[in-house]
Amino acid sequence: MDAKTYTQLLHAHRDRVFSRALYVLRDREDAEDVTQEAFLRLWNHGDDLPAERAGYWLQRVITNLCIDVTRRRKVVRTHFGRPDTDIAPRLAAHEEGADSCLDLDERQHQVLNAMSALTPETRSVMMMHYFQGMKLREIAEALDKTVSALKVQIHRARQTLRPVLEAQGLEPALSRRQTG
């Protein structure tokens, strides 16, 4: 991959990829590391990639890196979350306050908080579709999954988020029904 192609990809994907990592991981430093690592890998392995596949490849790398970071955090919490240390509460407080400076409204806060119950892969899939605007067919190609599997994954995620979504989305429908 030549520098020009790399630069085009960098400018086309950098902010959205970083934002996705930030919303999935909810930690700015982790998101910076993941973004940097993904573009470093793109640069190092770009020669092996057809240009038209590079975007998909990048999305897959970011998804896998986010999963890796989440796994590492789980290990840290398992080992460090002992009652004789104050590390576990500090980590939890850090995560809860991570998006305090991201200019989100209340309903976005609620949805992102509720999404922490989902797996990092499901969070990534949802961010790729809803936030990055990728079609399910494109996500399937990037993650080497079937569109049907993605439909089920998103449907189940919606069920998990249902209490939050009902509070946000159903009020107009209910009021229409009551007034109708």
Binding site: A3, R16, F18, Y23, T85, K151, H155, L161, E166, L170
Partner: protein
């Protein structure tokens, strides 16, 4: 809810995104016209879409910008330019945590020349001690043959000596 609902609900994401072929979209629309339960599900889908699609795009850090000018070696493009400094400081602090008693007047003034305040260094020393204690605790809870397999020759001689010739205990290092 009828027998069509489960299939229809799997299509709602694409229906809301206008990604369905016309025939399937018409089927979904026809079902929605008569199924209140699926209309509510569509409302939830729209609420989710609205919340996530309007998330602000955050600017990536500048550190990713000059990457293409680097040579193709990870070692020449550190993810954080200040990381070697922090690593050095962490190593020094860890060494102090092990070697120096935990009393401020025993800390030699000239061991670390650093822009960090004494409070930051003290906090780092505290964190290093906690981390070290936890690491030792984890090792103590791990089966001895696993510790030897993982650390091999990197274990200090005193530790490896105490481990050699001892039968592995399923309960870990206490046994």
């Amino acid at each position: 809810m009828n027998h069509q609902c489960p299939d229809i609900r799997l299509l709602l994401t694409e229906f809301a995104a206008d990604e369905l072929p016309a025939a399937e979209a018409a089927t979904v629309a026809g079902h929605l016209a008569v199924c209140e339960s699926c209309r509510d599900e569509l409302t939830r889908e729209m609420a989710l879409r609205e919340a996530l699609s309007t998330l602000p795009v955050q600017s990536a850090p500048r550190v990713t910008l000059p990457l293409h000018t680097a040579t193709r070696s990870p070692a020449t493009a550190p993810s954080r330019p200040w990381k070697p400094l922090l690593t050095g400081l962490a190593a020094a602090v860890l060494a102090l945590a092990v070697l120096v008693p935990d009393t401020p007047h025993h800390l030699p003034d000239r061991v670390i020349i650093t822009p960090y305040t004494p409070a930051q260094v003290a906090q780092a020393r505290h964190d290093a001690r906690v981390s070290l204690a936890l690491a030792v605790d984890i090792i103590n809870r791990t089966q001895r043959h696993t510790v030897v397999d993982v650390f091999g020759r990197q274990l200090p001689q005193a530790v490896s000596g105490s481990l050699s010739g001892t039968a592995a205990s399923p309960e870990g290092g206490q046994g």
